[in-house]
Symmetry: C2
Subunit: 433 residues, 2 copies
């Protein structure tokens, strides 16, 4: 595809108007202020009329539980423990592998609709999740959750066999779209032996690791009581977890010492502002983390606590909540917010050639229709993207050069079937409860 | 128009599927589970295919500065005083009446696009604002700002003549769509004599009154220093301001005693969660105010501090920020959030027959397209409206029975001209600075 006469946020997120951007073999192959010369233009295939449009890097969702789309609107307005124990866990016990496929497929459709091409996921039945991401044409860092409530080591747990199998069957599938990560659900759902074992396994196999960290005050404080004053960050560091590339989700209650560790160890912190507010968890110290040099990326979390996969909404919230919770309007610039939602997210998934628009990068792109009334005046396009625009302004999403969403159509999947399956499966599960 | 076979949030915001809703003479004239019988159906004109759609009350924006659309993206990421003094005030000094018209018209277009039919506005050149609202076909409670930095009484100030003229020329224009309110900009921009005079004027003329209250901590604390410990709420109460129906914008820093007064005096508090976060002002104690029985409504504020007029976004933020800032996920239910954005907003504008869908109410309606992937499953439609849906899902907005937005078209105005005028006028002003 050749995006013709289109406005662009380039690899520095600087605005350039009236550009030509050519995509070939899954990558950006041309960026210029004029059309490619002579016969070159024809080699990109379809010419896309870019007038009134803004080409941006696509979004990378650094923390999700995709099958939880089945639970959207099911467990609402409840304190966290009642939400989990009385509503979420009983529902989840009824979810079949096939349910996971359809829940994930609808999540993929929703992410693609709002310009997102890749997500890091923690759940169960991960083969089914991967199948959905492959079908939808988007990318996924999947991770099967380590849960070890007693003294088990990794060899005693099903996650070990799952990981071996996932690596064998799915690592690098879809031309690298599927990446297998390790996953520790959280400090309070595992024991030190299993955690250390999994960290060693990740190191041995060169895997990345996803983990929930300090989402709630209770989790943070109880960890300190259980482990001689160690916070979750220090606890995981002590067990070797931070020796591999880690994405730590939430980090709402981390202290200053934790932030130093997160910065020094290059941990990716996936902020989830919508979910953290909705569950009453609080506000992650995003401004402080960015100032300290922490790699802050962004996630939508599960649909029982957000309730949509609109990364532009969470990007907006990332900036707003940082300002609101610190009473400092100068913290978290639009560029920092957009970088978190794009480039840093891609890096958190080990996708080094993704998350920016330049020759050689993967063609993971989204096109924003800037003709709506919220976009005028265009005094500062980047500010408009972060504060004025909407995920619904995305009119085209491309992953590895393949269009996965375009103006109400999902070329890679049957959206009506996906919605109907999720609707029916949710009804079935609620009926079983 | 006859909305056929459409889902509905009724006057209690309860969900009803497959309804017929007829609109005639600007009001809802029929609500039923089946089509009106016989020849009756033909009397509503166009039959609207409501399948896959959800009919809701339209939104009422209880606090805005509509011409500030000209400043969108202009003054960003700055501390409040630098934002105001170095950027906003110099820009505003260059705004002409004609600029106000176009800025307001684009704001009206944006509000209509996101399902809003009415707004309370504080600014200057209000005739031009009213002309824009009348042209756009939506409703406006306009208010010319009282600014009195010295010892002036109302008779010494231009606002008195403006008010007399506005009442004479515009009160009730557009079949009641235009309402003239009084307006005190804030405690720190007026003196007690002028405030008391204006309160008396409002009482005498039966007018409502808009005022900024305790938006920032500085404003709140300095008021107490200036006025023997009186907070802005108590200061205004002491001068008779609360003897008329008041909409108090922001109320971020009100204390418990203030909240009691706001509840007892029936003050409408217009929360502006996006703006309050973006400017670093903080989080209004919305949960506490609702629990105490305060009439909480919702505003988008000006576009230099939001930066869009999407009431669904601010409604979402109203609920999220209340939970996040109190660490209590149970506060502010979806019904409370939607009520604030609709019925309470209408009441704050003195529009008693607006803000709900029932026979006899004004036909101020919005239709949400629920076919997008964020709406499945439809386990709880009201929850989906507040948490999963987007303003961009609005596919039709109706004000007093007249369609003001429908699927990318604004029947009442020239959207391309409005955007171009705002773009050009903003450029001119920035060039003059």
């Amino acid at each position: 595809m050749l995006f013709a006469d289109i406005d662009l946020l380039d690899e520095n997120l600087d605005f350039r108007s009236h550009c030509w951007v050519g995509v070939r073999d899954g990558r950006v192959a041309y960026v210029g202020d004029a059309a490619p010369a002579g016969e070159e233009a024809a080699r990109y295939g379809e010419v896309y009329d870019g007038r009134g449009k803004l080409l941006c890097p696509a979004f990378y969702n650094a923390h999700a539980h995709a099958p939880m789309t089945l639970l959207r609107g099911y467990a609402e307005n409840l304190p966290l423990q009642a939400w989990l124990n009385d509503m979420v866990f009983p529902f989840e016990a009824k979810i079949t592998p096939e349910d996971c496929y359809w829940g994930t497929l609808l999540s993929c459709a929703e992410m693609a609709r709002y310009g997102c091409v890749s997500f890091s996921d923690m759940y169960y039945h991960m083969e089914e999740g991967a199948r959905a991401a492959l079908d939808a044409g988007i990318k996924m860092n999947l991770s099967d959750s380590l849960l070890a409530f007693n003294g088990e080591g990794l060899d005693d747990l099903p996650v070990k066999g799952n990981l071996d199998r996932l690596i064998r069957d799915l690592q690098g599938a879809g031309d690298g779209r599927i990446v297998v990560d390790c996953n520790i659900h959280a400090e309070y759902t595992s024991n030190p032996r299993a955690v250390a074992d999994l960290a060693a396994y990740a190191k041995e196999h060169g895997l990345r690791l996803q983990v929930h960290v300090s989402e709630t005050r209770l989790e943070h404080e109880e960890c300190k009581q259980r482990h001689d004053g160690l916070t979750p960050v220090r606890y995981f560091e002590s067990l070797g977890v931070l020796d591999v590339p880690v994405t730590a989700a939430h980090c709402v209650w981390v202290d200053d010492g934790d932030i130093d560790v997160l910065a020094e160890r290059g941990v990716f912190v996936a902020a989830n502002p919508a979910s953290n507010m909705k569950l009453g968890s609080g506000f992650a110290p995003v401004a402080k983390m960015l100032a300290r040099g922490v790699n802050v990326c962004l996630g939508t979390d599960g649909m029982a606590s957000n309730n949509n996969h609109d990364m532009m909404q969470d990007m907006h919230l990332l900036a707003l909540t940082a300002k609101g919770s610190t009473n400092d309007p100068a913290v978290v610039t639009p560029k920092q917010a957009l970088t978190a939602a794009t480039r840093v997210g891609a890096l958190s998934q080990g996708r080094d050639d993704c998350g920016y628009v330049a020759v050689g990068a993967k063609a993971d792109l989204c096109v924003l229709d800037t003709s709506g009334p919220s976009w005028a005046p265009m005094t500062n396009p980047l500010v408009n993207v972060v504060y004025a625009g909407h995920g619904a302004d995305v009119c085209l999403t491309m992953c590895d050069g393949v269009v996965v969403y375009r103006e109400g159509e999902w070329p890679t999947l049957d959206i009506e079937r996906a919605k109907a399956e999720v609707e029916a499966r949710t009804k079935r599960i609620i009926g079983e409860l």
